[in-house]
């Protein structure tokens, strides 16, 4: 027979110290006294993360948390709560920070322990297609609180006080944006969630929506309430079919429960959300381009002012925040601006999600408090560089960001420090680059991306990035010229300062920052025609050394028949035929093929 109640008692070190064992004994005897032992399960759990309020126990169903309990309180709880279904109010605590639950499952792993999960708090612990799971995790409670206890002005004040800044890249204070939109006049107002995540290597938005779509929806409803909007739009990449599907389902479920639609939860506030699909254009992450795309046009940015908060979608005041920003809102409302602003640094509050990738042991999504150092992320969470290689650079901010050298490892993550170091927070890509990578080539890769994604509207970005790419290409091909670095800097600085939108203004960053931090590599390419990392194909040759045993594997795989040699004798590569595909290098089991 299934239990009617489950009592979970925290068995963490702190609560143990506060006598949870003794409490457990009392609970069991009290249950027995009241004839409830059969119907109730009593369990010990790992740390519930509420140590300050310990000892802590949770009564389910209902998820009532009791804190600071002693043996003496138990009879009262059993009698009132379990028998009469009336929780003992004086012992109930709200200390259960939403972000703690994740750690009840994952807190014992190094990778997670250093993290703090606010926006991704539910990702990985709930069924994203179940609104019940979300409700059980205090979902939509923030919405209820806002509609019951707060005026729109109070909501905005709370968000302002939290110090939350836009997580899409530029870090504009979120509360201020809300305030401007709320004050702007228009026929109607719009609330938009920017889910057009396009940075190569960044996928936190996808992950957030796939893992916990309701958080974003709840954040948007609250935003709509605060600024006086009744129409919300999620602009999401068409490349994310699963995220779209889950979001669609979440919207339908939320509508059914009365969280979306007319007169939400009996209030006189109405709000609904529609989904708009992108169609593959990185520049649509820029807010004015995104608006044009929603309007059914080419996603090309326009000059600001007017800012979208004043004149955005269809000329109406429009509040745009990205997925991560929205996901913070319910937590700020429930746990309070004071709590939220206690996390992070002076100017950057809360947490930031990074997509950790590249040459690092633990790749993945990490959410850390602002102020965490790069070193902590890379070595303590990421587990360091694999294969005992040396770290060479950290690329943050995706194609709009920059490459920092090793000496910046102790930089604290916040908007200002990263900018000072010559990179940006961006949407949160973090690529670790080891000694096997050529920085000129990396810069070229990013520039290729932005050049390809340039909308073509403004001259500096359209023409300038093309020229920069041409110069970089010739450097990597060993055709660099004296003065090329200066040309790159001249063009780069001009493009940064003159371009129409953020894409162009940040496009030169990877190049400029690698010149700043790795100038020697550029000079090696240009002056000595050498690629120190042996990546740029034109700048090295493959050759076979004496280790060759003549197995013939390389000869077999070579697509251009450039390798010749008798069986069991040393082979040789005909450089005129070699296309430097590297297949032989990968195939050789005897390390007999080298780059020189």
């Amino acid at each position: 027979m299934p239990s009617r109640y489950v009592i979970t008692l925290c068995d963490g070190p702190s609560c143990m110290h506060k006598k949870s064992k003794e409490i457990e004994m009392v609970i069991k005897s009290e249950l027995e006294k009241n004839g409830l032992l059969e119907k109730t399960r009593v369990m010990l759990s790992g740390c519930l993360g509420m140590c300050k309020k310990g000892p802590v126990m949770i009564v389910n169903p209902g998820y009532t948390i009791y804190g600071g309990i002693t043996e003496k309180d138990i009879p009262e709880i059993i009698q009132k709560h379990l028998l009469k279904k009336q929780p003992v109010a004086r012992l109930v605590i709200d200390e259960d920070h939403l972000y703690n639950r994740f750690f009840r499952i994952f807190g014992d792993v190094d990778f997670f322990r250093k993290q703090m999960r606010i926006t991704l708090r539910n990702c990985g612990i709930m069924d994203p297609e179940s609104i019940e799971d979300y409700l059980a995790l205090r979902g939509y409670e923030a919405l209820g609180k806002v509609l019951t206890e707060m005026t729109p002005q109070q909501v905005i004040a709370e968000v302002k006080k939290s110090g939350l800044r836009g997580r899409g890249g530029a870090g504009f204070p979120t509360g201020l944006k809300w305030e401007i939109t709320a004050k702007a006049e228009g026929k109607e107002k719009f609330v938009i969630c920017n889910a057009d995540e396009g940075d190569p290597g960044a996928f936190m938005d996808r992950s957030a929506i796939e893992g916990d779509p309701h958080t974003v929806i709840e954040g948007m409803i609250i935003g709509g309430y605060a600024v006086g909007s009744s129409r919300g739009i999620v602009y999401i990449r068409a490349e994310y079919p699963l995220a779209v599907k889950r979001l669609e389902k979440a919207i339908v479920d939320a509508r059914q429960e009365g969280f979306l639609g007319k007169n939400i939860l009996g209030s006189n506030f109405s709000f609904d959300i529609e989904i708009r699909l992108g169609a593959g254009a990185f520049v649509c992450g820029e807010e004015t381009a995104l608006i044009h795309s929603i309007e059914g046009s080419r996603g090309m940015p326009r000059p600001r002012p007017p800012f979208p908060s004043v004149s955005g979608l269809f000329g109406n005041p429009t509040l745009i925040n990205n997925v991560e920003t929205w996901a913070n809102i319910p937590v700020i409302i429930l746990d309070g601006a004071d709590w939220f602003s206690s996390i992070g640094t002076e100017k950057s509050k809360g947490t930031k999600v990074f997509a950790l990738a590249g040459k690092i042991k633990n790749t993945g999504l990490v959410e850390v408090p602002m102020g965490t150092t790069l070193r902590e992320i890379i070595y303590e969470i990421g587990g360091g560089i694999p294969n005992n290689k040396k770290i060479k650079a950290i690329q943050t901010g995706g194609p709009s960001g920059g490459c920092l050298s090793e000496e910046y490892l102790d930089t604290k993550i916040d908007y200002e420090s990263l900018a000072q170091a010559g990179s940006i927070m961006g949407s949160g890509g973090m690529i670790i680059i080891d000694e096997d990578s050529c920085m000129v080539n990396i810069a070229k890769f990013f520039l290729e991306f932005t050049q390809n994604e340039s909308c073509g509207k403004c001259t500096p970005c359209r023409e300038g990035t093309k020229r920069m790419l041409e110069i970089l290409t010739r450097i990597t091909e060993g055709k660099g010229e004296e003065g090329d670095i200066e040309k790159l800097q001249r063009l780069g600085n001009m493009i940064k300062k003159s371009s129409l939108c953020g894409l162009g203004q940040s496009a030169p960053n990877p190049v400029l920052s690698t010149i700043k931090n790795f100038r020697v590599e550029y000079e090696e390419h240009i002056k000595n025609r050498k690629c120190p990392a042996k990546v740029c194909q034109s700048l090295f040759n493959y050759s076979i050394i004496d280790k060759c045993v003549g197995c013939g594997a390389c000869k077999k795989i070579c697509p251009t028949q450039a390798i010749s040699g008798q069986a069991k004798a040393k082979h040789a590569i005909d450089q005129s035929k070699c296309i430097k595909c590297g297949l032989c290098f990968k195939t050789c089991k005897f390390n007999a093929i080298i780059k020189s």
């Binding site: 254009a281 309007e295 059914g296 046009s297 080419r298 090309m300 326009r302 000059p303 002012p305 050049q451 390809n452 994604e453 340039s454 909308c455 073509g456 509207k457 403004c458 001259t459 500096p460 359209r462 023409e463 300038g464 093309k466 020229r467 041409e470 040309k487 001249r490 063009l491 001009m494 940064k496 300062k497 003159s498 371009s499 129409l500 203004q505």
Partner: protein, 588 residues
């Protein structure tokens, strides 16, 4: 008023304008390229960037509003270099064929490059290579010369509302083109040529017939006859460095004679003829024979627009041919008989302010005696070049008169060249035909000027006749929407395809060094030149033109006679592809 600082000096300026507007008024002309005062702000070229204290990046002065205490630098060393580099980047992706280019010497990009001080190139690289589109009768599109300022796209969608052109593809591969990159000739292009007017380079130019014409002018076996549209005389001086507004009537006649034309006639004569036909048609419709409101049919771009965008209104449009086609028809019949020459041996050349007339000339339904009525249409720009190229000094030439019998015109024919002119001319004659009395107050102020849609009325015999005038196809769309909703609101509507009427035609001289294309001040001066010619004439009503009376007596009989119907009237039909005028302008 607020105070702003430009290059450290304080200036009092009005609030609510952009940095560029404010700077213009206090004597700083910030360099610019994609900006056009009549079009929406694009902010794309970044040539007009300035430094604003406190802003992280440069701002585009065309889009950024001034505010109290703003400190602006327009000429700092770093800014000058950035601006220079931007213009160089444009040049780097532009054919370097200035000395063989049609716009050499009058190209905005060339001037800009010069004023930036680009003497050495730093960033040359890959350049675009696209096919030229030569398919249209009127407009040649050369994407290689396009610098993507987007003015053509904006004028086509915002002013003309034809939406023929758009940006396609993206980034470095962006090209301005019609839908599907289809040839112009197959698109909904109305051939108005406004894209040419606003293009800063030679990405759009008219289909040029000057070489063919030079060749024909040397052919002794044919009779070479020219006709000149009213607005050509009002603008051609600008191509020779004169201020706008100087009428050059007799000088062009003389120049054309020197070029080798045997006869030079005046399209104003056939404008009078048009009034006779169209006026009579209007009176018939007023008496219940035909649909009202009647809409004018003189403008070729408008006629193509009608067939593609408003086929439902075809029956409302006057069947009278345009003055050019009436003149050509008369040349190949009436005049051919007079000089006893086979019309096959006559070369009929129309000197027009217009690129769409090139298209009109190719319409098969306008053929006369199995021949094209108009053999060649030459724009003001082309003829100006031919005159220069032949070493004829237009500015210092003894004027000559138009030839008889198709050279004499009334003032009504003159004002055809400006918006409202056809209507005014029509009223002058229709009033008399209807009431039997002479209209004394013949200058109708309500329908003059450059308001997009103008309304006016006349009382004829106690009957109120309500008229409307629209210029530019966007305004035409607007007036037609009004008429569709309330069919009895107007009796007569004049529509001209180009902003300002023919004086703003797609074939008029390019803007000068310090002026902008389609500048309203310039259009006003051109219009004033025509109104001045009208005022100085003793005959100001078409029906009073003695040569008009003669041609009816000798050849046509009376207005709307079978002969007139055969030679002076035509018909229109719905055309594919059908074009769309969006209800909401989502194209911005």
């Amino acid at each position: 008023m607020i105070t702003i600082y430009i290059n450290d000096k304080p200036y009092k300026v009005e609030e609510g304008q952009t940095i560029m507007q404010a700077a213009d008024k206090v004597g700083f002309r910030i360099p610019r390229l994609c900006y056009h005062p009549k079009l929406s702000i694009e902010g794309a070229c970044r040539v007009c960037i300035v430094e604003v204290e406190g802003a992280k990046n440069y701002v585009a002065s065309c889009a950024f509003p001034v505010s109290e205490g703003m400190k602006i630098k327009t000429n700092s060393e770093e800014l000058r270099r950035a601006r220079r580099d931007i213009v160089e980047l444009i040049l780097d992706n532009h054919p370097q064929d200035c000395h063989t280019c049609e716009r050499d010497g009058i190209c905005e990009l060339q001037r800009l490059a010069f004023s930036m001080g680009i003497r050495k190139r730093h960033f040359e690289g890959e350049r675009k290579h696209y096919e030229k589109d030569l398919s249209s009768t009127s407009v040649v599109r050369d994407p290689n010369k396009c610098i993507l300022c987007g003015r053509c796209v904006r004028i086509c969608s915002e002013i003309q509302k034809a939406n023929v052109l758009g940006h396609a593809h993206r980034g470095f591969k962006t090209v301005v083109m019609p839908a599907y990159n289809m040839p112009f000739s197959e698109s909904v292009c109305t051939t108005c040529g406004q894209c040419i007017n606003v293009c800063p380079t030679a990405a759009f130019v008219e289909k040029n017939y000057t070489q063919e014409l030079f060749q024909k002018l040397n052919d002794k076996s044919i009779v070479k006859i020219a006709q000149i549209a009213p607005s050509v005389r009002a603008a051609i001086g600008e191509a020779f460095g004169l201020e706008a507004g100087k009428a050059m009537e007799h000088e062009i006649v003389a120049a054309l004679k020197r070029l080798g034309f045997d006869y030079v006639f005046d399209t104003q004569f056939s404008a009078d003829l048009t009034i006779m036909e169209e006026g009579s048609e209007f009176l018939e419709r007023l008496q219940g024979k035909g649909k009202l409101p009647m809409i004018t049919s003189c403008s070729s771009a408008w006629m193509k627009c009608l067939e593609q965008f408003h086929p439902d209104l075809i029956e409302n449009v006057s069947t009278a041919k345009s003055p050019m086609s009436m003149m050509s028809a008369m040349i190949k019949t009436y005049f051919a008989q007079k000089i006893k020459r086979d019309p096959k041996d006559i070369l009929s050349v129309a000197i027009m302010c217009c690129t769409a007339k090139k298209y009109e000339a190719s319409r098969p339904e306008l053929m006369v005696e199995g021949l094209p009525a108009t053999d060649m249409v030459i724009t003001t720009r082309e003829i100006a070049w031919m005159i220069k190229s032949s070493g004829i000094d237009l500015l210092d030439i003894k004027g000559e008169n138009f030839d008889e019998p198709l050279g004499l015109s009334s003032g009504a024919g003159t004002i055809f060249g400006t918006t409202g002119g056809v209507m005014e001319a029509a009223i002058r004659t229709a009033y008399e035909l209807y009431t039997g009395e002479t209209l004394l107050d013949i200058e109708i102020a309500d329908i003059r000027g450059f308001k997009g849609v103008k309304e006016g009325k006349v009382i004829m015999d106690g009957k109120e006749i309500r008229v409307a005038v629209a210029h530019g196809l966007g305004n035409a769309n607007e007036v037609l929407e009004i008429a569709r909703k309330d069919p009895s609101r107007y009796h007569f509507i004049e529509i001209m395809g180009c902003p300002g009427g023919c004086i703003g035609g797609g074939g008029q001289p390019y803007a000068g060094y310090n002026s902008i294309p389609l500048d309203e001040e310039c259009l006003k001066k051109r219009a004033e030149a025509l109104y001045g010619l009208d005022r100085n004439k003793t005959i100001r009503r078409s029906h009073e033109n003695p040569d008009i009376q003669r041609i009816y007596k000798e050849f046509l009989g009376r207005p709307l006679s079978p002969a007139a119907h055969k030679l002076l009237h035509t018909h229109y039909k719905a055309k594919e592809p059908r074009g769309i005028i969006p209800v909401v302008n989502a194209v911005l």
